[in-house]
């Protein structure tokens, strides 16, 4: 019974994981020859979101699309592009969401402003209370 169930599960799982059969892009799994450039690429890839598996970075993901994104990153860096220019290229296409690096922008500024406001509030309350106790 268990075996039948397992066989059934495997049969059902097939189509869900339907993926292409092409080999990965040249630089999906191959590091750049220059260690300095590879380090730059690696640091950047760790802060870019995999669009197929959205809680992973493209450095962590084995999704074919993440491999294709690593190829883009490595070949652009090998061509002399600045890592931040590559990040900007992706943000231009996918919006802020593709980057894990915190940026202050039109939509994210409250995330940075609210803690400061709260700290100021705490300061005021403490100052008033302690001031009164004295």
């Amino acid at each position: 019974m268990t075996r039948l169930l397992l066989a059934l599960l495997i049969a059902l799982a097939g189509p869900v994981y339907a993926q292409d059969s092409l080999p990965p892009a040249p630089y999906a799994y191959k590091q750049l020859d220059d260690p300095a450039l590879e380090a730059k690429a690696q640091a950047l890839m760790e802060t870019l979101r995999c669009l197929k598996c959205q809680s992973q970075s493209i450095a962590d993901s084995d999704a074919p699309m993440a491999g294709d994104m690593r190829h883009q990153v490595r070949s652009r860096i090998a061509a002399g592009e600045d890592p931040e220019a590559v990040r900007a290229w992706l943000i231009e296409r996918y919006g802020d969401y593709v980057s894990y690096k915190p940026e202050i922008s039109e939509t994210t500024w409250p995330l940075f402003a609210i803690p400061l406001v709260l700290l100021a509030l705490v300061g005021v309350i403490l100052w008033r209370r302690l001031g009164r106790a004295r």
Partner: protein, 175 residues
Amino acid sequence: MTWFRWIVLALAAGLFGLFAYMLSQPKDEFVESAMIGEPIPAFDLPPAVTDRPGLSSADLADGQPKLLNVFASWCVPCAAEAPNLARLEAGGANIVAVAIRDRPEDVAAFLQAYGNPFSRIGKDDISAVQLSIGSSGVPETFVIDGKGVIRYQHIGDIRDSDVSVLLAELREAGA
């Protein structure tokens, strides 16, 4: 001081209410392209099958608005949307396509099985064009106007109700 406590309580209750509401909402996992309104980046893809020409960005700026379908033979929803692509073609849409990470024989078999509504099919083996237009999966369908500017993006398979929307977007783009 009591009013102050009530305000804090109301704020906390409101916050937890917001958490409860957001947790009950399905997660929106679509990443929309930020390229709407932008000209399509330059590319030139070889043909994906023998009986259709390849696709370049110049083909998308030839004066006639088009639908650009990003698909793959290994993608299940791409097969599901085939009847609606046929309806779009019957509705007068010129549909061009980019095949993502696909073998020519697989694309040919896929089109044989589900129909071929495409006038051109480019072969994108490393998702380069897909990444350059901000598409994050298959299938996706873009409306490109006659000047090659991206006007609209449909994410996921084209359902029955999406056909009229896409035709309207195509008309708006000048078809």
